[in-house]
């Protein structure tokens, strides 16, 4: 169910009406769970089997982790994490692994089976949340701050687990929520507690970024398609790539903001997922601003357990490369995604290695230069998302170097620029916000939100799946 479909609007309204009904207040968690199952299963009810299976698996392991002696619980944790990763591996990576290692058997009956395994929507997100739940449950036994994660009784245990994994605003495309952030929020909610201003702002910006910016840009960036891009001039290709960079941000940040807003309406505060990433002047800063829920998950549950930066320089570099490559592969079952992660890992390693030589933190000019370098590098790396075939990526670069003399498509470039502008303004507004905290600034903000709402109604692009759905 897409966030911009009428089914979603109807679901949210109906759920909201029931959720805050005083008579049903004690059933709030059940209402959210039912709404989540409707949300996930409405188009393909078979998917619910997998979701419920994942919930049951994690509830069982969580129970074992909460009740068994610590030493044995560690074993159950390993098994639980392996089970989650196994589920993800089976549905997401079996085809890739088969083609990589048993490619010569392609065409056999076995390969037909492996290659026809569907990729259930949102599996990458809810399996990660399952891992977070298990790890945090074990931590809660020795950490007083996390005590609240341990359920008081069996029914509470099941309800908490189900709601945490299936909570519909962030179920299929994040943000990835950590158990220690979400579980303490599970309690009765009152309509008077809703922060309407926050919910309204995030909702309008989210829908605007998705429906006006990303969906319109998609119609132009589709020219980055093999072999069509071969006929485009260098400047046109650069403009299209720039547009794709804006589109992917608007698409995903927009989705996250809608999820955050809808969660806020139901009384749950999800953490920020994008913090103006394109103003980052270093790669490490970029990853503190881009898909924060994933990068913090990888840091907390992979990079630090691998040793983080505590075991010497070379080991740190190794950890960075491994974390980023696996993070890349999380995005899709193709080696190009792993390569994309590797490219970011290498950038992080180089940045760390040269940190003392290039003082990015200091001068303003260095910061501007750093921002330009990071943005360019990140934008070129997005090409691996658009063209998962390496050969096509190389041909794209080839076309960029040879098509200098072809005519530029000014109309197309102008449209790309116009629809990219809101993303640029969004980032600049963040930089300027502190300076315009006066009445004029508030009027400007009201006008901006009114204009965004107007454009959502009158200027939305054709509906398209969220790019991150495929992950």
């Amino acid at each position: 169910m897409l966030f911009n479909s009428w089914q979603f609007v109807a679901l949210v309204l109906a759920t909201f009406a029931l959720y805050y009904l005083p008579l049903l207040r004690s059933l709030q968690c059940y209402i959210l769970i039912v709404a989540s199952f409707v949300f996930y299963g409405i188009q393909n009810p078979c998917l619910l089997i997998l979701l419920i299976g994942s919930i049951a698996l994690n509830a069982l392991f969580r129970f074992l982790l909460a009740t068994k002696p610590i030493a044995i619980a560690r074993f159950w944790l390993t098994l639980g994490v392996a089970a989650n990763l196994g589920l993800l591996g089976f549905f997401k990576y079996s085809g890739l692994l088969f083609l990589t290692f048993l490619g010569e058997h392609a065409g056999s009956e076995r390969s037909q089976f492996v290659l026809s395994i569907p990729l259930p929507i949102g599996i990458s997100f809810f399996t990660f949340q399952g891992i977070s739940l298990l790890v945090d449950t074990l931590r809660a036994r020795s950490d007083d701050h996390l005590r609240g994660l341990l359920a008081e009784n069996k029914s509470q245990h099941w309800i908490d687990t189900t709601l945490f994994i299936a909570f519909f605003p962030q179920l299929v495309a994040g943000p990835i929520v950590k158990a220690h952030d979400f579980m303490p929020q599970i309690n009765q909610k009152m309509v008077s507690e809703i922060d309407w201003a926050f919910a309204y702002r995030t909702l309008v910006i989210g829908y605007f970024l998705k429906m006006v910016v990303a969906d319109n840009l998609k119609m132009f960036t589709m020219w980055i398609e093999y072999p069509v891009f071969l006929t485009k001039s260098t400047l046109t290709l650069l403009a299209l790539l720039f547009g794709f960079s804006m589109q992917i941000f608007a698409d995903f940040a927009g989705y996250s903001l809608i999820a955050i807003s809808v969660s806020a309406i139901f009384g749950y505060r999800l953490s920020e997922n994008f913090r103006f990433p394109y103003i980052s002047c270093s790669f490490s800063e970029f990853w503190r601003r881009w898909h924060i829920s994933l990068s913090s998950f990888l840091k907390e549950y992979l990079y630090i357990p691998l040793g983080g930066n505590r075991s010497g320089r070379l080991r740190t570099y190794f950890n960075l490369i491994v974390t980023m490559s696996l993070g890349g592969l999380w995005h899709g079952a193709a080696w190009s995604y792993a390569f994309w992660g590797l490219a970011h890992g290498v950038a992080l390693v180089l940045e760390r290695a040269f940190a003392n030589v290039i003082p990015i933190e200091g001068k303003r000019s260095w910061k501007i230069l750093g921002t330009m370098i990071v943005f360019s590098y990140v934008t070129f790396a997005w090409l691996l998302f658009k063209l998962p075939n390496f050969d096509h990526v190389l041909q794209f670069f080839g076309a960029m170097s040879t098509n200098l003399s072809l005519p530029n498509e000014i109309g197309l470039m102008a449209k790309v620029f116009v629809y990219s502008m809101p993303v640029i303004v969004y980032h600049l507004w963040h930089l300027a916000r502190e300076r315009v905290q006066n009445e004029a600034g508030q009027h400007l903000e009201s006008f901006a939100f009114g204009a965004m709402l107007f454009l959502i109604v009158t200027n939305s692009g054709p509906t398209a799946d969220f790019i991150y759905f495929q992950f």
């Binding site: 072999p227 040879t402 197309l412 009201s446 939100f449 009114g450």
Partner: protein, 322 residues
Amino acid sequence: MIKRSLIVFFALLSLHVVVVSLAFTKKMPEDYEGQNLDRGREFLANSEQFQCFVVGSSLAYKIHVDFLPESTFNLSFIGRGAFDGLRLIEHSRAQPELLLIELNTVYRGEDTDFTAKLTNPYSRFLYRPSHEKPVNYLMEFTAKLKQQLISHHRSRILPYAEIASNSKALHNRDVTRVRNPASVAQELPHGESLKKPYDEILQANIREWQSLPKFYPLEDNLDHLEDIVSRFAKQGVQIVFFEMPVHHEIEESPRSAIIRSAFQKRPKLQEFPLIRVFDLDVYQFHDGLHLVSESLAIYSQFLGEQIRRIPSQPIGSNQQGR
């Protein structure tokens, strides 16, 4: 803040309604989805006026209806197949007498998301026609202003990628402006550099047609097609299948062969005439699949002639063209 922004919203919306009602521009969108949606909307708004329909993909998108029977509407959509057009006809109040169904891309099923955008009231409200989008009419207005300030307007030959989005060619059927890329290549100062990419596109398409694309259920689609045409035939609608001419290597490709063979195994579909082209040398293509405008005019004329030769009742034998 919420109240003030809502006031701004309603003020802008009111202004927008005035601007749109003035309708000073009706430029076709540059993106293919926008073109598809606009075409679908145009059909649904005037469906009762048409009795003959062409349904197909981008291959048939620019067929000139002037050469076909009167009151023909081309319901072919870029990037899609015949099923989307058929769905819209069934959904509309149209009472068809003749259906021309393109077969080249019959492996593509209906895109329910796309048809829902045209048939669902919520989606129809949300996704406005391109000329009603503020960004479009503001850009158009700016372009006109610029054009008036700078008196001369350079005429140019369109490169390949813009052909699909050329509003003039679509609306006014100004076919003379869209040219064979090969001849475009020769005429432009940088012509030689354009030839290579077009050859590469042709080779890429030939490679692509070496097999059926994954996840396209051809047999299911043909089952579905059988159901649809029998429903229409029972209502007395004349059904005619046609194959758009394609580059001879694509015409002889495994994908074409698979589609043709699957089609021939369906006796229910064989009851209806099929118009094929054998003399492919007459035609020129942009990329091996899409006809250049002159060839499109020739083919449209040929298709019109073939249809006129078909008896009004479905016949048992296939038509064979040049």
